[in-house]
Symmetry: C2
Subunit: 395 residues, 2 copies
């Protein structure tokens, strides 16, 4: 197997799997029914959950935990799993998309009173530490994002469902009372839970000597002033889109960063990633036998970055690309056959050698975000020639 | 003041502020000198840091903390602040970019053995809780990102510098020995420190019953397989770029999500944000008096989202836009004058009213990421008609 994805955007895995839908059932022990909404677990869901728990041996642990913690239980609060009485049934759904549970994956519930992107980003980064065991290696994980959860009833409902599905809960709740509620309820029910935003917010509050607002992003009291930053970022994205794939070479001098590389070295997604961080990026394709635009050699060479890649990996990517684009056999082989790939990379290598100021970044095995990190580190180091390289921002 | 930025990409503030460069000085007490690199603090830096500490009263706290913690100090390890003997000097630099410290901002050092994006994302989200007091309200914060820090020497150097600058340290270190080192050293020196990745990784490890790899992203042992996801995401980005601003209306049926709205409702940055999450997005501009493409009314209406905005805010954004594009006076007033703005929004409103299945999203005061969260929530709810709405993924 090719062990690298040059363009892998590992921080945002895809495609988002649709939720496993559940049919409503009567919910015998309602702790705090949601107002105006009906979100209930299904029998099938409970059976799956139970079967999974039994197989994983987790149910026993959970029971033990519950026994221990029952001592401090509020008598009104009972573990929603007690209402389960389903049995293990077939765990294979007809459609992988609609039966996420059928994958035997362990579930992670991400709950936020804002967008939930911080929880998603952190969980994703953390799951990067378990890549050796995820879906291909028999240890699949299903994440479920619940965003905009800003009242206790819906929060409770989700935590109850987490208990049913044997999920762990991670939360980013700006509202301190919601966060405290999540903490207490998870503790009472023996649900593993992690507060993502709380510890760093507390540390910053103490560092600044200022209390946090307790308002999630998008709350009515929050402001998003039309700042210079705002206009600059929009401009960077629009510029980058217009400059994509060698368009408008006369504008290269307006770019902050210029990427040069052969087709399928990830120039476009990398450009877009950098643009979202506020850099105007232009990218220039290197095509064997096609003259590069004169302006590429006229701009400040300190802002040009060459991209290179292992030929075998490149060929694999190009073959998939040619197939998905429906290239004819002839075009396809010209684009992705090894001789052609090697010649084109050699042409790129010579171009880079003639421009020794351009750093050449090996993208093989790097996710987009990693290549971006390397480029920005070099970009800031070169621009500021610091004794201690860093990327600094003012808030 | 207009208190909203419809398009504010609040998760990625911009522009990145270049580091305040320091000239090398002899470093009298070297704990663990970096090998092959010379990164040293400047006298000026120390003076600024000291002055800031004195003004903030933090130095005293820190001293107190140090006294308490000295009891457990390793005798070899001394607080690098002790080597300071500078005095407060002018704190105003000639150039805001190169003198970040001159803003009197409190510093946050973000240290990672990977890309550092998780630390940056979390700190940014957390700083969202302090928007009431940041740069405009006399409580500026400077963040400094140190990525790819994968040996103890460089880690020590940065923590030492954090002590000199009175910074707090947040870290995402996949390597457990590095993380432990950071924790211990910060504790010894009384530097406030937060481990961003550790707690969630530990919780997931315990949930999965699997040990984390301890390898940062991009480490040689890590794999990024050329998965289906990978190709799908690249395709989404490329599709979205090609479809931007109403291009290729004949391809609207290929999009997962179609956005329709008047100019400057944030269609482009929102499309790009969603594309990076793997959705193919097309956007269709609504222009007063211009017929919308027939295909917009032929595609599945459940995937079309209308965007609307407060006219006063829109006018402000358009004025800035017209100015930056150098529109002539005449074009400018046609684009951004209030009568025109209202008429165009009314035209959009009528279009939306005629297509009642399209949800209409009010983007005023929402950052791109928030609008995206609303759209994805609706998108997944509609697609899967679940009793408990969620966005699920399989890892």
């Amino acid at each position: 197997m090719i062990s690298s994805a040059t363009l892998g955007l590992s921080s945002h895995r895809l495609p988002p799997q649709p939720p496993r839908c559940s049919t409503p059932e009567p919910n015998p022990k309602s702790l705090s029914e949601p107002q105006g909404r009906k979100h209930k677990g299904s029998n099938q869901l409970n059976r799956w959950s139970r079967a999974r728990s039994i197989r994983s041996g987790r149910k026993l642990d959970r029971l033990h935990q519950r026994t221990t913690q029952r001592l401090e239980l509020n008598p009104q609060v009972q573990n929603p799993k007690e209402s389960e009485n389903g049995e293990a049934s077939s765990l294979t759904g007809s459609d992988g998309y609609d039966d996420v549970e059928a994958n035997f994956g362990k579930a992670i519930f991400m709950v936020s009173d804002g967008t939930g992107w911080t929880a998603e980003h952190s969980v994703n980064a953390s799951l990067g530490q378990f890549e050796h065991c995820l879906v291909d290696r028999g240890c699949p994980v299903n994440t479920h994002l619940f965003s905009g959860i800003d009242d206790v009833e819906r929060l409770m409902e989700i935590i109850k469902q987490a208990a049913k599905e044997g999920a762990m809960v991670v939360y980013t709740l700006a509202d301190p009372s919601l966060a405290e509620h999540a903490k207490q309820v998870c503790k009472l029910w023996g649900i593993p839970a992690t507060d993502i935003l709380g510890p760093i917010t507390e540390a910053i509050a103490s560092h600044l000597g200022v209390l946090p607002s307790g308002l999630p992003r998008g709350a009515p009291g929050r402001n998003f002033p039309l700042s210079e930053d705002y206009f600059r970022r929009i401009e960077a994205i629009e510029f980058t889109i217009k400059q994509d794939d060698g368009a408008l070479p006369q504008n290269l001098h307006k770019a902050d960063i210029v990427l040069a590389g052969v087709s399928r070295t990830g120039k476009t997604p990398l450009s877009i990633y950098l643009a979202q961080k506020g850099y105007k990026v232009a990218n220039v394709p290197i095509v064997n036998g096609v003259k590069l635009p004169k302006s590429l050699f006229e701009v400040d060479p300190e802002k040009v970055f060459g991209l290179t890649i292992n030929p075998v990996v490149l060929q694999t990517i190009r073959r998939a690309r040619a197939k998905s684009l429906g290239f004819s056999e002839e075009v396809r082989s010209n684009y992705s056959e090894m001789d052609h790939v090697r010649e084109e990379l050699e042409f790129a290598r010579r171009t880079f050698a003639q421009n020794p100021v351009w750093p050449v970044i090996e993208v093989t095995g790097k996710a987009i975000e990693e290549t971006a990190a390397v480029i920005l580190r070099l970009y800031h180091d070169r621009k500021h020639k610091c004794s201690m390289p860093r990327i600094s921002k003012l808030y």
